[in-house]
Amino acid sequence: MTAVLAVLEQRDGALRKVSHEVVTGARRLADGLGGEVEALVFGTGPVRGTDQLAKYGADRVVTATGAAFASYAPEGFARAVAEHAQAGGYRAVLFAASATGKDLAPRVAARLRVALAMDVTDVAMEGGAVTATRPVYAGKALLRVQLGGAPAILALRPNVFTPVERPRPGAAATVALDLPAGRVIVKHVKAAAAGAVDVAEAPIVISGGRGLKEPANFKLLEELARAFGGSAAVGASRAVVDAGWRPHADQVGQTGKTVSPTLYVAVGISGAIQHLAGMRTSKVIVAINKDKDAPIFKICDYGIVGDLFEIVPRLTEEIKKAVGH
């Protein structure tokens, strides 16, 4: 029995990393149901990385191919997923709560006329029902909910569901779908600077606040991020985004992104409640601030009190030595 559908994402013909997390979440629900996981991905042809999905618990991998699927097509994808979900009779349909998933999941839920739990950080089968935990009030509280819909629709927060190896058959299938893209067309994607990692998905985030004194000083944080070897993103507090020092896409906090990286380094950020809300679920938090009474030191794991302009360059050197970049 196929119990859970995992809707995956690809870009430029390669599966995105967040897809493994969605399969991991789907596997957890399917194990609770004693059922199978089917993974669904869209493309114009074969998608690189789908052969890895068996390792994370996919029983079957369906690649839906069509001319309309070269890039994200909101209406075409919504129709295809909704029709696929309806035909498959799944108990649950899972998405990533990525930029695409946040756009697609509500459309699919509305087409299926069922509820959607967005930005979920935990899922389980309890007493035969799908339950989920989701941060609300920007992580100042957690809401535990039970989903009654058939299927239950959930979008999983990136970086939370650590991929777990759980080998299954992963039988591959391809279906050709001759569907129109719809009225809303992605004309092109303006790529960010080569190698840039998004703060919402980066395993390491180095964030700066007003303590940096001026926009040009963010280069200190960019150098520290580079020392981690391409896995780190540079984030920012609301104060410096509102001042126009950094783009809004980099803002961490209640009116920016909520992040859960493995390592969060807060530099020159005092720790206003609305910032703490956006990063408190990080696994390890390091704070560097000249004010020993700054609220950020209350929630960090490791703090250094002092002048960031002396501390950050030293940290960059030590990280280079430690990770060999």
């Binding site: 919504a78 930029a99 946040k102 756009d103 999941a105 509500p106 459309r107 839920a109 509305a110 087409r111 006329r113 069922v114 509820a115 959607l116 739990a117 967005m118 941060p135 609300v136 009030y137 920007a138 992580g139 100042k140 509280a141 957690l142 809401l143 535990r144 039970q146 009654g148 009225r183 809303v184 067309i185 992605v186 994607v189 303006k190 960010a192 840039a196 998004d198 783009p247 809004h248 803002q251 209640q254 009116t255 920016g256 493995t262 409640i273 609305q274 390091v286 704070a287 030191f297 794991d301 490791y302 703090g303 250094i304 009190v305 002092g306 002048d307 002396e310 501390i311 940290l315 430690a322």
Partner: protein, 250 residues
């Protein structure tokens, strides 16, 4: 340009969350409520589009308790023409129920645009706008950070991981707004006075609970007390050792 803007009354972002005795909701005692920050961008965009067109109407639609009249008035003070409150004391956790109620109100309104904030900063549901679009059969672009309109069509930019999607869509459309789209105006005293006289009918609505049952509202996991490794650059070596050997993140 006839534009509807759907807004929500939410706790201010500085709110310290206290859980009510029912264990399932926010204790609202002492909480300051504001217009959802993302909805401010939607109101501002609607006003600019109407001003550019030289004619039209901006209508504020809000689902919420009687106190949300105040929130609607703050949008009217910015310059919107009139408002309507779909009054209920219980907003269900299921965003699709909210979308159905809003779609029923907006249906057959002859709108050129229906705008929403991309999400509300209380429930983080991030879904009502595109659900309303599906229910009304309208084109929809979410999290719009840049917008250009031409007769019958529009181009929007939305942030995705590591890039920006450039999206074309036909009008009428539902758009949800992202921070950065514009800089919302502050209501002037004249606007605040004028807002008091603008039409704001109230329609009682009763929404079913829908497909999401709230089991509990819980405090987030406590973090262990922070540890100051040391002062100044000399503490860096010890920090890196702790990250490698203690936290094991390097």
């Amino acid at each position: 340009m006839k534009i509807a803007v759907c807004i929500k009354r939410v706790p201010d972002s500085e709110t310290r969350v206290k859980i009510a005795p029912d264990g399932k909701s926010l204790d609202e005692a002492g909480v300051k409520f504001v217009l959802n920050p993302y909805d401010e961008f939607a109101v501002e965009e609607a006003l600019r589009r109407k001003e550019q067109a030289g004619a039209g109407e901006v209508v504020i639609v809000c689902l919420g308790p009687a106190a949300a009249q105040e929130t609607i008035r703050s949008a009217l003070a910015m310059g919107a023409d009139r408002g309507v409150l779909l009054q209920t004391d219980r907003i269900p956790a299921d965003g699709f129920e909210v979308a159905k109620a809003l779609a029923a109100e907006l249906k057959d309104g002859g709108w050129d645009l229906i705008l929403f904030g991309k999400m509300a900063i209380d429930d983080y549901n991030h879904q009502v706008g595109p659900m309303v679009a599906e229910l009304l059969g309208l084109a929809c672009v979410t999290a719009v950070a840049h917008l250009e309109l031409a007769p019958g069509t529009g181009t929007a930019e939305r942030e995705i991981e590591g890039g920006i999607e450039v999206v074309e869509f036909p009008l009428p459309a539902v758009l949800t707004t992202e921070k950065g789209l514009n800089e919302p105006r502050y209501p002037a005293l004249k606007g605040i006075m004028a807002a008091k006289k603008k039409p704001l009918p109230t329609k009682p609505v009763a929404l079913p609970p829908g497909g999401i049952e709230v089991l509990a509202l819980l405090p987030p996991a406590e973090r262990k007390d922070g540890r100051i490794v040391g002062e100044g650059p000399d503490a860096v070596a010890e920090l890196v050792r702790l990250l490698r050997e203690d936290a094991k993140v390097l």
